[in-house]
């Protein structure tokens, strides 16, 4: 697929259809891939990469890119197209300035999962028929491919591209994923257990803002947490309350807008399962107000800017599950 992408990118650059290409650039090791903008065939030939580690969702970069002159070619995986669409819907991306090529999605790999197996000194990772062959300075190691798959890919919701100008490879379907399993498990816990679970998780937060800054729904010109006028600005989790508040407010602000791309949990240096907060909102919205997938289209009304006269009362919260 990488060859086909490079070929198309160079063609489109050459015939002037696009001025720039956004994709991924290879790094020092096999796995440290950086999203990058390419402007020439030479750059693409030498650096462009699309492999098992190109998990980063490049759609958020298009907010910035479409503010520039000219047209940009973006390679979007199915999950990225949802983020892209949502940003178009919120007028953050100028659709006219992007040429979208849909590419097949994951499953992509999580280097942290490989390292968690105690594998270190990694020189290369090769997928040989769904067994990973990992060359290290301490010798060769193998592990099953699926044990190293990113969490967000393991619970993939859709292989369907909701927007594209052309496709490389096949378009897939919306999947019947198991993505709410963990949310359900938590819902079935007691209140105290849930409290303990989240305290344990959120106490790890170092407020590096990676989750916020990578999030395609968090494109505010000025985040409330950075704005001294908002009254809730704050830079550090100085108290457990502030750890909670940051994540509650962030999840609330993206509720109904979060496409469940899973980037927040992918980038968290402390491995906090932040996506569970977003998924809780998605699950609630689906159950209480009807199925809604943010980014599936660019016209529907978001659940929080909509209502029906016979919506449920907040007392449903009191009536279900365990206290």
């Amino acid at each position: 697929m990488q060859e086909a992408m490079i070929k198309r990118a160079k063609e489109l650059l050459a015939d002037g259809s696009v001025d720039r290409v956004i994709g991924w650039k290879r790094g020092e090791f096999t796995y440290d891939i950086t999203p990058a903008v390419f402007t020439s065939a030479e750059e693409i030939d030498s650096d462009f990469v699309c492999d098992d580690f190109t998990a980063a969702n490049v759609s958020k970069y298009l907010v910035k890119e479409t503010q520039k002159e000219g047209k940009v070619l973006a390679f979007l995986k199915p999950c990225d197209t949802y983020s892209f669409n949502q940003l178009v819907k919120e007028h953050r991306i100028d659709r006219e300035k992007v040429y979208v090529i849909g590419i097949e999605g994951g499953p992509k790999l999580d280097i942290e999962k490989i390292k968690a197996k105690g594998i270190t000194g990694i020189l290369s990772v090769k997928n040989e028929d769904y067994t990973l062959r990992i060359e290290t300075i301490y010798g060769t190691q193998t592990m099953p491919f699926y044990e190293a798959v990113l969490d967000k890919c393991a619970s993939c919701k859709s292989k369907k591209h909701v927007v594209f100008d052309e496709l490389i490879g096949e378009d897939g379907d919306v999947l019947d994923s198991n993505r709410f399993e963990m949310v359900e498990k938590l819902e079935n816990m007691t209140s105290q257990e849930r409290f303990d679970f989240w305290r344990d998780q959120l106490s790890k937060c170092i407020r590096c803002n990676a989750c916020r800054n990578v999030c395609p729904a968090c494109t505010c010109e000025n985040c409330v947490f950075d704005n001294p006028k908002s009254g809730i600005d704050n830079k550090a989790p100085a108290d457990s309350f502030e750890e909670n508040m940051f994540h509650i407010i962030r999840a609330f602000h993206v509720a109904g807008r979060c496409t469940d791309c899973g980037e927040c949990s992918r980038v968290c240096p402390q491995h906090i399962p932040l996506h569970l907060l977003n998924r809780k909102f998605i699950k609630d919205i689906n159950e209480l107000y009807g199925e809604y997938q943010a980014g599936a289209d660019t016209t529907s009304r978001a659940p929080l800017t909509d209502y029906t006269k016979d919506d449920c009362e907040p007392s449903v919260v009191h009536e279900r599950g365990v206290e």
Binding site: E90, H91, E221, K229, S230, T305
Partner: protein
């Protein structure tokens, strides 16, 4: 540095009996920024207000907190007092220590403690209050009336009378509406045309009134005092300015098999037509669905006979745009469709008619020239059954849950007229209740019974069966006699429920006004503001707001006119300054706020920003129209970036209150 004055009211003993007002004043005097803290017997009294005013002047106060009764009671009083002493009225805050403290608590110690907290909360808020100035927004001295029925005509006439220009937009080729189709009016039995047509002529001749017939409202922008409305003038293929209304074309038109909607389809008209003799404007219109020339390009008879040269087969829809200060909605009603009522055989039998059809059958300008004949065989009916509440007061999807209000009276009118004109005809009226509230209404109904011997039967028709001999079997119950009747009738007249015109809902969306589930426009307040919509500058006239008879419609039409005139009289309107505003530097342009605004007060503009690095960037940002915003604050929460805030109830103010309470 803030200089805040606190004034604690005793309210006689209302507050002072349960709250230690001296202690409250003392405690609040220690709050940061408070420079004077006093208590007084009656703060709202002349001398109490004087105390506040003097303190404002002498102490150069920058904020005032009154600890007294509910702000719903005296907020305005104290705001005015502050304004008269030179302090912006929005720098006054009220701490409600009567309704929400002294009156509900009995223990002096805890009540006093709470009063201090409430006072402290108000002090915390007033620290962050900013002077607010009510905006003035100019008023365009022109009104738009949507709908040219009796409601619209009356409203337009009244507004024009007051000296303002008015435009009427009517979707039909003529104004007049339903009343033009009605034969006689209750309870006086005078001829509807005789009282309506002079008004139609008056409207057309009034130089302040412009009638856009055969036109529709295509788009509405703007807000109270300054609406911009796009009106679509549908192609009528006749030049209105040239047509003299001579009617020659309608006579010569070879296509004569067009159902005549004015006569409820009971007879036919030509493809080029003037709806009725007294139509205003009296201008012909070509029906493109039937005109041979427009359909096949072969005919052109009307063009040949028209000496005025008014026929224009190439005419297109045109759009005009106009500014208005006020809009009056008068879109009226229609009888509901009876297709779902199989039991009344309306679709099977031509002799089962609706009341409005009966009006045409009895009208001198109707299909039978005023002689009541059965539509099927044009014979004189001898037994007529009226069925009340067809589709009204229904709990199911077929009908309407409400009472259509006018049916009882027009049925009595019909029954009476038939008995008057054709005494050999037996008339039965099946009713559930006879509802006749109104001046001379019950007397009218009793006359139908007592003087005209109309058979009123308490009960309902269950089944109408057309028989092979042309008669109609009407199976009904007589509840009082406790028997089931079969009446061998010649005609059945159904009092169909009325519903708002279908064009009302899309119009409501354009106007951002509210409708109830039945598509009637919702008034701003059911008792106190019955002719205004909740959207400022939009007024309601006639049956679009709910079922009404003619006198009520006319009364409401004039009331709506009075309200519109009241608005148009002003050169500008003062807006509530506690409205939302967006910080453009923080706005993402995501449209969340726009979607939750019930008033359409938020629009988006592409604005050029000078960036600190001297480049410029064009960004889509929200812009709140303060004249339209009512200050609910829905947008402030929808906004993820916190760019949207509400004056008078800002995020920081509310959080300061929260902090003060939780302290």
């Amino acid at each position: 540095m803030q200089r805040i004055g606190v004034f604690v009211c005793h309210c006689g003993t209302n507050i002072a009996a349960t709250v230690d007002v001296k202690a409250v004043a003392e405690a609040l005097g220690h709050e940061p920024g408070v420079v004077i803290s006093q208590d007084y017997q009656y703060m709202c009294s002349e001398s109490g207000q004087e105390l506040v005013k003097n303190a404002i002047k002498e102490q150069k106060l920058t904020g005032v907190v009154i600890c007294s009764c509910s702000p719903r009671m005296h907020e305005n009083t104290f705001r005015k007092a502050a304004a008269s002493a030179g302090l912006n009225p929005y720098l006054v805050e009220i701490a409600n220590i009567r309704e929400q403290c002294s009156w509900i608590h009995k223990d002096i110690a805890t009540a006093t403690e709470k009063a201090i907290i409430l006072g402290r909360t108000a002090v915390a808020k007033v620290h962050l209050n900013t002077p607010l100035n009510s905006m003035e927004s100019p008023v365009v001295k022109r009104a738009l009336v949507i709908g040219g029925g009796i409601a619209g005509i009356q409203t337009a006439l009244d507004i024009a009378e007051a000296g303002f220009d008015v435009d009427i937009v009517e979707k039909q080729p003529t104004i007049g509406g339903k009343m033009a189709q009605i034969d006689k009016t209750f309870p006086t039995l005078d001829c509807a045309a005789c009282i309506l047509t002079p008004k139609m002529v008056e409207a057309s001749q009034n130089e302040r009134i412009t009638i856009h017939s055969f036109s529709e409202v295509a788009d509405v922008k703007g807000f109270v005092g300054n609406f911009t409305v796009k009106i679509k003038k549908k192609a009528r293929f006749v030049d209105e300015t040239k047509c003299t209304g001579c009617g020659l074309c309608t006579e010569k038109c070879p296509m004569k098999k067009v159902p005549n909607e004015f006569n409820m389809g009971l007879d036919n008209r030509s493809a080029i037509y003037i709806p009725f003799a007294q139509a205003v404007p009296k201008v012909a219109t070509i029906d493109p669905n039937y005109c041979m020339m427009l359909k096949t390009g072969k005919c052109g008879v009307c063009s040949k006979v028209c000496s005025a040269g008014a026929i224009d087969y190439k005419q297109q829809d045109t759009f005009i745009e106009q500014q208005y200060g006020a809009i009056v909605v008068a879109t009226g009603f229609n009888p509901i469709n009876l297709d779902k009522y199989d039991e009344f055989a309306y679709n099977q039998c031509p002799d089962v008619v609706t009341s409005l059809e009966l009006e045409r059958l009895m009208n001198a300008a109707g299909p039978n020239g005023g002689t009541l004949l059965r539509p099927s065989d044009k014979t004189h009916p001898h037994t007529i059954v009226f069925v009340q509440c067809v589709g009204s007061r229904c709990d199911d999807e077929k009908g309407k849950p409400y009472c259509s209000k006018i049916c009882c009276m027009y049925t009595a009118k019909h029954a009476m007229l038939i008995r008057e004109k054709y005494p050999d005809t037996e008339v039965y009226v099946f009713y559930i209740d006879v509802r006749t509230p109104g001046k001379n209404f019950d007397e009218f109904y009793r006359r139908a019974v007592e003087q005209y011997n109309v058979h009123y039967i308490k009960g309902m028709v269950g089944k109408v069966t057309p028989k092979s001999d042309g008669k109609i079997d009407v199976q009904a119950s007589d509840l009082l006699a406790n028997e089931q009747l079969h009446i061998n009738a010649d005609m059945v007249v159904l009092a169909a429920a009325i519903e708002p015109d279908k064009t009302a809902r899309p119009l409501a969306t354009m106007l951002t006004t509210q409708m109830d589930t039945n598509d009637f426009f919702t008034e701003a307040h059911p008792k106190l503001r019955p002719v205004e919509s909740a959207t400022a500058g939009i007024f309601l006239s006639g049956a679009c707001q709910g079922p009404k008879d003619i006198p009520e419609t006319v009364a409401q039409a004039s009331a709506a006119a009075a309200k519109a005139i009241g608005l148009l009289c002003k050169n500008s309107i003062t807006c509530n300054p506690c409205v939302a505003h967006s910080d453009e530097l923080m706005c993402n342009g995501c449209s969340s706020c726009e979607k939750v605004c019930p008033y359409g007060a938020i629009t988006y503009i592409d604005k050029e920003f000078r960036m600190p690095d001297r480049t410029t960037k064009v960004r889509r940002v929200a812009s709140v129209n303060p004249a339209v915003c009512q200050g609910c604050g829905a947008c402030t929460v929808a906004c993820p970036s916190g760019a949207m805030d509400l004056s008078g109830f800002s995020n920081s103010q509310i959080m300061a209150e929260v902090d003060a309470i939780c302290k």
